[in-house]
Symmetry: C2
Subunit: 433 residues, 2 copies
């Protein structure tokens, strides 16, 4: 891996490099996505079935679009029993962690009869999109579904494209069932997003759509945003390791590689105060590369977006980490909790040498759907909060309103909104006539 001194310049170059991974204009796809959305909005099921035939070469109709109980049973037969046990243990951890995120409605009453509050209500129906293809990512199913489940969403439905045989990936089905998905529909691509956003005879309209997908899915989600809610569009994966001379170079190298293997746009960065560690990690990366199955992808992503930066001080290193605002941040230093207190921007923070990033991807409990590409400066991990919404509560007694009615009228008149002033005034017109 390239080793550079951390300077204002190298940091700036790195930041500009990373931003290049932002999706550019996808104008060429936008029109075809919009055409699919319009067609499904108008023709509903009929369009969904036709697009499924066209894009997935599968014969799906109203009789088989909903995955049946038999199909789910069949899927259980195909999934390795030991994997199922692992999925169940991971699920429990994810559930326990997200349960701690739940917030309650609250009400505050005052002696004059004023009641102010905030009512928390789960979303009614949520749609989870799961990509098709050969590789299944059951961990992604769990991470998308569990926050909705814990939030108390009434109905969680899933759509995923069928194979040519009209079947859905068994691991995906089992993960969905284990996580408590209510219904799974065989539909993929922009047509599935349209069905979730507008509703069809078979697929009900949802309030929010979450889950990853290809460029068609991403553009379709963006297009229906506002009509329904969506999660944020995920960018390429990232890891930044903050380490000092006490870090184990083999651990650091293995962790950098764990993110670099995702795809060629993934980014793996080490910022360290130790020149010696920098050299050792680079060597270990080369050693591991010989053994890893996805070495080709890893080499490309390291060439493009892999960096080892040597900082003068830990303060400088921390500043760089805060500016880069990485999706995953590992702290492998002598006093990692000290460093953590100074981190402002990161999706997930892994503290100490035994908190390796894949622990968070699969098992510990916190969500693995995290803000990428610097957006950890203002976005948060997917959480229970994404599946609830709040309503303000306001109740005033006559006495309480009387005390402030002149204030409100003054304010409304200053904004020239006389009907606003009148609505308060009329309540006391007899008192003051």
């Amino acid at each position: 891996m390239r080793i550079q001194k951390l300077t204002k310049e190298t940091k700036q170059n790195l930041l500009e490099d990373l931003l290049k991974r932002s999706p550019n204009s996808y104008g060429e796809y936008e029109a075809s996505v919009q055409a699919i959305l319009d067609k499904v909005k108008e023709e509903k099921d009929r369009a969904v079935f036709a697009f499924t035939k066209q894009f997935d070469q599968a014969d799906i109709d109203a009789t088989n679009i909903l995955v049946s109980e038999e199909e789910i049973e069949e899927a259980y037969g195909k999934v390795d029993a030991s994997l199922l046990e692992v999925v169940r243990r991971a699920l429990q951890n994810i559930k326990d962690y997200h349960a701690k995120q739940k917030i309650n409605s609250w009400f505050d009453s005052r002696p004059d009869g004023t009641i102010l509050g905030q009512k928390v209500t789960p979303l009614q129906r949520v749609g989870v999109y799961v990509p098709g293809g050969k590789a299944a990512y059951p961990s992604s199913v769990l991470m998308n579904v569990m926050p909705a489940k814990v939030a108390g969403v009434d109905e969680i439905i899933m759509t995923t494209p069928p194979g040519k045989d009209g079947k859905v990936n068994p691991t995906t089905l089992v993960a969905a069932k284990e996580a408590g998905v209510d219904k799974v529909y065989k539909a993929g691509g922009a047509q599935a997003i349209a069905a979730l956003a507008y509703g069809t005879e078979s697929i009900p309209k949802v309030d929010k759509i979450v889950g990853p997908g290809n460029i068609y899915v991403a553009l379709a989600k963006k297009a229906v945003y506002g009509h329904v809610s969506i999660d944020s569009i995920a960018g390429p994966s990232e890891i930044l390791v903050l380490a000092d001379e006490t870090a184990n170079p083999r651990f650091v190298a293995a962790d950098l590689l764990s993110q670099a293997e995702h795809d060629e746009l993934a980014s793996a960065i080490l910022v360290t105060t130790s020149e010696k560690l920098a050299q050792e990690v680079s060597l270990e990366v080369d050693n591991f590369l010989k053994e890893l199955s996805r070495a080709e992808i890893i080499e490309k992503s390291l060439d493009n977006y892999g960096y080892i930066l040597v900082a003068e001080t830990m303060e400088d290193a921390i500043d760089a980490a805060n500016e880069i605002a990485s999706e995953h941040l590992e702290i492998q230093t002598a006093a990692p909790f000290e460093v953590m207190t100074k981190i402002r921007n990161a999706g997930a923070i892994f503290i100490g040498e035994y908190a390796s990033e894949p622990l968070g991807d699969y098992f510990a409990g916190p969500n693995h759907i995290l803000p990428t590409n610097g957006t950890a400066k203002f976005f948060s991990p997917l959480s229970v909060d994404d599946f609830i919404k709040k309503s303000s509560i306001i109740s005033y007694s006559k006495e309480a309103l009387f005390k402030v009615h002149n204030d409100i009228e003054t304010f409304a008149k200053a904004e020239r909104l006389t009907a606003h002033a009148n609505s308060v005034h009329v309540r006391f017109e007899n008192e003051e006539a």
Copy 2:
């Protein structure tokens, strides 16, 4: 106002009518907005000054773009003292309410050395956009700024277009100062949004942009979304009153009118179980209309989007309210808290006959920036949560990771991510070699 029976059909028509108010394609403006954004991104201050000259006919440069202390003092001289007192009292209520929304970081430790948590960090710098023009809306300044202030945002800056004389509306300035805005810059339109998103020599880049604006501002915010965060795009104002035969028709009528006066797209809806109340409210609306200064706007908005619906039962009325998901919902019934418990979807809920909607607009404390056009099904009022973000915290001891390392490796291998498996495996390679 038109009076209709609440049926499946009338409800459907109403819902379709309301949705017509959604912004359609603004393709014609998109290109010019993008051109402004690109120019400011490249030429920074120079472009901002040129656009300010072009659109606002004001001479602004690096020496006067930042509102000075003298200008703020001057503004205080121009604002009515009694209005200032009202602003201060409203501000305190808004501060008190939002303080209750603050959430803390939390950490959960287990005996095996596992620590999981969620770290809450305020955004670093936020930009508030305030429209120019003759009418100032100081209440909007308070409602946009206070949640950021309470959240603990380090720096809150504001941009607002100058008049031809290079001055900013004094009421806006005073409201900004009172709310604790750190700096006010004289810039408006898409060029101000671009400056906030990319930064210029004079205006620093922010993490999030909030505040209302015209179509150029809205499109510019949408275009920079992802690079920075934004609030949601506000639609036309709405009120829905749920009332039974115990409601005071004069109060109900006045409250409907308070929202109808906003603009011609505003919607005012009464859903009642009482045919008698329906008739009386309609009469009172006509009576008030004779006296109100904005009668022309009101008549248009009532013609377009004003409805009185008579429901068979309160359950039907509540169902309709939940489907419409109004920005403001008033409950004027014999047992309003009973009804409130059944409300799922509303931006703000006003309970009882003395909780008139303008109380919430100006004074009670909850935010008046609320989800519109049915989006209360999945969006929330602007709150402290919009100005913080969360990072997950994961720390495992060696012992804790050892217990689960096989599980994680199994899961990673099932997803064919071997470098993920390796990152856990390497931590115990010597133990198990």
